[in-house]
Amino acid sequence: MKTDLKTNIKAVIARAYVRVVAANREPSWWLTETLLPVLSTAAYVYVYKALKAPEEYTGFVILGGTMSAYWVMVLWSMAAQFYWEKEMGNLDLYMIAPISRMSILLGMASGGVLLTTTRAFAIFLAGSLIFKVSFSIISFPKLLAVFILTLVGLYGLGMLFSSLFLLYGREAWHGVTLLQEPVHLLSGFFFPVRSLGFGVALGASLIPLTLGLDAMRQLAFKTGAKSGFINVNLEIIALVILCILFLVLSKYAWDFMERLGKKEGRLSLRWQ
């Protein structure tokens, strides 16, 4: 049991290492992945300025842009990553290794968080400085808790999506492509989610980002609570539930898909 745990930890580190090394060796990624989001975030800021929206909207947008980096990362580098892992045959090798599949996912996730955080931080810093956003943090511990819960929830969701790739390749890929933009809208990246109306906002809350962003805005800006969706404490509880739900579901989904894949002969690609 103890050696099993050690092996799994080593696997997590090894998989995370690939992520970090890859990013450092291709500095151009850093540029496109940071500069472009900063620009698109800036575009929203100017729209709001032109519309003479309340001052704090600038801050909302920058926070949204920051968190959007994590969403893109979860979709493409966690879930859709398995499309490539399968194509290249790495999936087979992970599957025959004496480790939990969760370790590979966790390795991808932790490597990803490390990278995305530098990216998100750059977006945040650039945005806040350029547009002189003023923060007034109501409770730092709560803000941190919300941030972490949002990430865990998002990665749980990414793991859940990734299980689809065990059986479906291109189809799942298209699904992910379809998801990217609507989620940007629904989870209120660039405006308070309350504006969508209660029903839609409630539905959108299934995506941890929605509640996470809303809570963060309420906690980080003086007037944030006014445009908030529901009470922050409620949002925290809901986030905890979502995290547990997604993590447990993803474990079941992986077990199910793996079994089905092994039964139908679709787990590994046929190439010889």
Partner: protein
Amino acid sequence: MNYAVETFDLNRTFKLKKEKKEKNKNENSKVIALENVNLKIHEGELFGLLGPNGAGKTTLIKILSTLLLPTSGTALVDGIDVVKYPEEVRKRINMVTGGEHCGYGILNVRETLWMFSQLYGIPNKKANEKIGELLKILDMEKFAKTKIGKLSTGMRQKLNVMRGFVCDPKIIFLDEPTLGLDVQVSRDVRKYVKTWLAEDPERTVLLTTHYMAEADELCDRLAVIDQGKVLVCDSPQNLKKSLTKDAIFHIEVNLTLNGMEKFGEIPGVKKFAYEHKSHIGRTFLKFILEDESAISHVTESISDNGSKIVSLSKVEPSLEDVFVALVGRGLQDEN
């Protein structure tokens, strides 16, 4: 005697995809990839699976390496049921497939091997020693720092082989490990496999191959498999010996595309196979005859068919001939 691998009436069928199903509606919509396979591979053995394309070799390896479930029957690896306790099986095995593209192009050879060694929980120091040793033996030291995306096919396959051995599994499955390699690289790989096996009596290798010479050189025993069925299982020597009573002739004629079926029916012909080599304008015929005297009927029939004999020779039985005798046709892409 301990068995590294044992299978009991192992079966695996695949459902055909929809499009294919419509084409042959009346036929069975299933492919039988393995049919009642019963194999016993001893610990310490280098065991070969020899068979044409689609024989079921990879299917068997996928079942043994826990990537695929059998439709029915049982398979034990190191005495452990692959369906019931896959986690336990995984601690003892590894697999190398010819032409696989494992790893990440951005990592170099050393890093790639390290990454895969970590999936087996090997301590860093030990892993690095093992990697150094593998790089040396397979003459890859100068590529240690090369990004794997930049390796040639041959180097890439050496990497695959090193990846399989880096964790020193108890049982390794090699699925056409020398596929597409040049003579020198294949030789390096074969040599390494043999030394690795000899180092520890508990180690076992299960190898599939298209290359008869490879099977002949490497394997202690081998199973000839065709259309999912094991036709025979013995040492290469015994298999060849089984043909010594027969007379085997290899005949080369000018490219002849018609009339081949008739040759199988010539009196005295036990088995017959042919292969067209249109690029050199030749057809190669292999005859297994009950005895030498039947050759006159054969040459007559060939002339009657309008073909011209370029060369004719009586040969000692090779594994290839064993294969022809059993399967009734040659192994294609045999070179």
